[in-house]
């Protein structure tokens, strides 16, 4: 479990907790994260609106730095937007020699597109990490009903990300099951949060958050889990805003790393969990106090509903001996 690590701008600002909790959990399970020296902003979510080459060049400089770093590792990226931009850049550089040379010319650095990028969630969804997480769990979330929210860019476009299912992904749900939470089956796992349009087109974008929260609530979620600082901020901050107008939702939003950290016995402050807009600490503390769930063999997160119903009215009487 060794990765080059691209934290991205958010993890030292609006996504501070994500950075803190990632460091905490990685250290606990012995996942080495080697931060890329002197990395820069990947340009999401603005560069691709402005200029195609810029959208490739900003992430490419970081990828070139990884090659310079010379560890030959995959790059783990916590932010879904950064992850997406990096994947695009890698794909472009690999698509043709001409494209790769163009990128080199723009960034004025050699870049051979050698290293792959994965999202942090994928790093944790792998078997080695899951096994390590399992060993470090000291507390169970005792059936806390969580709605895993993946957003768009972790799973789409499938050809670029090549990670999980783009309508009903399971990797975060599986991690939640591991720490005793109960993933709810809901329909908005990969619906868009509006990304930066929450700032520059709030009228159109706000209902997206409302609909996500509503569907989570309708399916009984007590918490939402995310793997992206932008999704997190949009959900957390706008839920707080909605609730100021009318107390409608009681669904704190977490990074999956925060919940893993809590299950490993972290103090919420170590993870930065008190920094959320929508208060988040109490829900977890309360879950820890719940009676433990009965030991059941872990089922797949909501297996497909068996469509066979017991025949309610057998046509012939059956005299079973």
């Amino acid at each position: 479990m060794k990765y080059s690590y691209y934290p991205g701008c958010s993890l030292s600002s609006t996504g501070l907790e994500y950075g803190l909790s990632t460091r905490y959990v990685a250290k606990k399970i012995g996942m080495e994260l080697h931060e890329i020296p002197d990395w820069n902003c990947c340009g999401a979510t603005a560069a691709h609106s402005m200029n195609h080459d810029l959208a490739l060049a900003l992430p490419a400089r970081n990828l070139a730095l990884v090659e310079k770093q010379g560890l030959g590792l995959e790059i783990a990226i916590p932010c879904a937007a950064c992850y997406s931009r990096m994947k695009y850049a890698i794909q472009a550089a690999r698509s043709s020699e001409k494209e790769r040379q163009k990128i080199e010319e723009i960034i004025e650095m050699p870049y051979e597109a050698k290293n792959d990028a994965i999202c942090l969630l994928e790093a944790f969804a792998r078997e080695d990490a899951q096994a390590a997480v399992k060993e470090k769990i000291v507390k169970s979330l005792n059936g806390l009903k969580v709605a895993s929210y993946y957003g768009c860019l972790l799973v789409r476009p499938a050809g670029v990300t090549q990670f999980d299912d783009n309508e009903n992904p399971q990797s975060m749900d599986n991690l939640m099951t591991l720490i005793g939470a109960k993933p709810v089956n809901w329909a908005f796992k990969t619906e868009c949060c509006g990304a930066s349009h929450q700032v520059d087109a709030p009228k159109v974008a706000r209902p997206l958050i409302y609909n996500i929260l509503r569907n989570a609530k309708a399916n009984g979620a007590e918490a939402i889990v995310t793997a992206c600082p932008l999704c997190m901020m949009n959900l957390d901050m706008r839920e707080f805003e909605f609730n100021k107008a009318k107390k409608e939702f009681d669904i704190p939003v977490y990074y999956f790393t925060e919940l893993l950290g809590m299950a490993m016995g972290a103090d919420p402050k170590e993870l930065g969990m008190e920094k959320h807009f929508t208060p988040a600490v109490a829900r977890i503390k309360e879950a820890f106090k719940r009676p433990p769930e009965e030991e059941k063999p872990i089922k797949k997160a909501k297996a497909k509903v068996e469509e066979v119903k017991e025949e309610e009215k057998p046509k012939e009487a059956i005299d079973n001996e």
Partner: protein, 660 residues
Amino acid sequence: MSRTGVFICHCGTNIAAVVDIAKVVEKAKSMPNVVYVEDNKYTCSEPGQQAIKDAIVKHKLDRIVIGSCSPRMHEPTFRKMLASTEINPYMLEIANLREQCSWVHTDREKATDKAIDLVRMAVAKVAKNHALFTSSIPVTKRALVVGGGIAGIQAALDIADAGYPVTLVEREPSLGGKMVMLDKTFPTMDCSACICTPKMVDAGQHPNITVMTSCEVEKVSGYIGNFEVTIRQKATYVDHSVCTGCGICELKCPSKVTSEFEQGMAQRRAIYKPFPQAVPAKPVIDAANCRKLNGKAKCGICQTQCPQGCINFEDEDKLITNTYGAIVIATGYELIDWKSIYGEYGGGQYPDVINGLQFERLVNASGPTEGHILRPSDGKEPKSVVIVKCVGSRDPNKGKGYCSRACCMYAAKHAHQVLEKIDNAQCYVFYIDVRTAGKAYEEFYTRTLEDGAIYVRGRVSKIYEEDGKLICKGEDTLSGQTVSVAADMVVLETAMVPAAGVEKVATLMTISRDNDNWLQEAHPKLRPVETHTAGVFLAGVCQGPKDIPDTVAQASASAAKVCGIFSKAELQTNPMISKVDIEKCSGCGDCAGICPYKAISMQDMEFIEHGKKITRRVSTVNSGLCQGCGACVAGCRPGAIDLLGFTNAQILEEVDALCL
């Protein structure tokens, strides 16, 4: 010296508009062995043919070249014409001046040059032609029909009624296929079972038809007129020669299994008849689920209860081999597995999102709800039903690119049934196009609109559950509005795909499949039920999606083809086949391995060499099996094989004529 006549056809303006016919005629006159040249407006016409016949007599021609359309079009016509002259029908070569010249070129000068080359090559080749003679093979007047759905049943009945014996093979325990699962049939709304089951019974009782259920074709060899076919009779563990079909075993069997016939919405026993009107009306044991056979319990209740003593747990698969003169393939279809490809429709997690066949069972009086449309999840009557068309059809990204043809009509039927059977129901049909190309189809669709079905032009983007309703999101592309419907039940009209196992059948009969695995007909317009393997015909959906009327028509067409073969005592074989020069054959056997038709075998033959008798292995070609493909010729290292009509000498003459 041979005396060659050349006849250049204008084909109206098809050839003449691009090719300078006069110039071609002029050039042909100076070609080797050519003693006569003329051109005709339409060579294939009656006067055109007569002109050739006259020229043959007048100029003492012994072979001819015709510059016209593709030999695929009129070679048989001209051969037939030659048969009534002194010249052997195979002393003919056709230069394709239409499909391979005038139709594909625009430059008159270059096209004319090419036409001259084509004629010169044909003239060179024909000089090396030899008279060929067809031989004949006997015909076994017994047909095999593979697949016991409505297509197979109809084909079998038609052939049997014509007086020929038929074996009807079905892999399921009963005849009936998909049609017998359906409730009503569009556009007349007659009961599907009521019109299908009598045909099943007819087939089962017909003196000329042997029904073999729970059977699959295992091996096919031979050729038109004489296919040798091995059929696997799967173990049923019930002796059908004794069983009376009383049904006690089914009542007593303790093992409940999901019913395939009821599309997973009801249960059957491990010993079962798929449905009450099954033909044969006798049960079989499903070994995987039988407690005794799968070793989970001692059980054996059926055996102790059977008054006839016909349960035999020791039963085994049997192989039965027979000879057939012709084969009809009618293996049908299944519905695409939408659950694995449409995550946006819930991927199968919502029990009230069902497919069209499930709806057929729900609305069928003999189905699991006795004909009441009730939700599989809670048995409640849905008041709002959404029907989604083209699920898996016309969707090359997720499913299939083609249109499944029948769905537009049965979607209209389903909408009609919802509105007819449920009080105050609402029914929304999401569609991309409404295709009603059939007699009385458009009228049927119009009636559904009058019933009150709301047609929304757009593909549903997402179906999800919220507050007990299935929310269907789509766009009404006619108004440009994005819309949502809160439904109680959703019916997905899913694509037809070829029945599982079609690859095996295709391989056994050496017939080709298209990109979507549908079996390939010999010609999409003019030979729609034939395949490229002589004597093997197609019926029904195995050839491509179609509805019941088209399926039945095609089944009867294939039966007519079979009867055509059987009406002759003997079959003429194509003389343009491979010929082995046994003097040159080294006996390596490569050709036998190369032959895709299994037409070449190795035989020991006696030779006199230096006055001594020796035995040598050489290859021989079965004239009934050989299709004249020439693969063996190319593969023969000693050059011992030649393809009659396309001998190496003939081809080399053509090449020389072009290049030297």
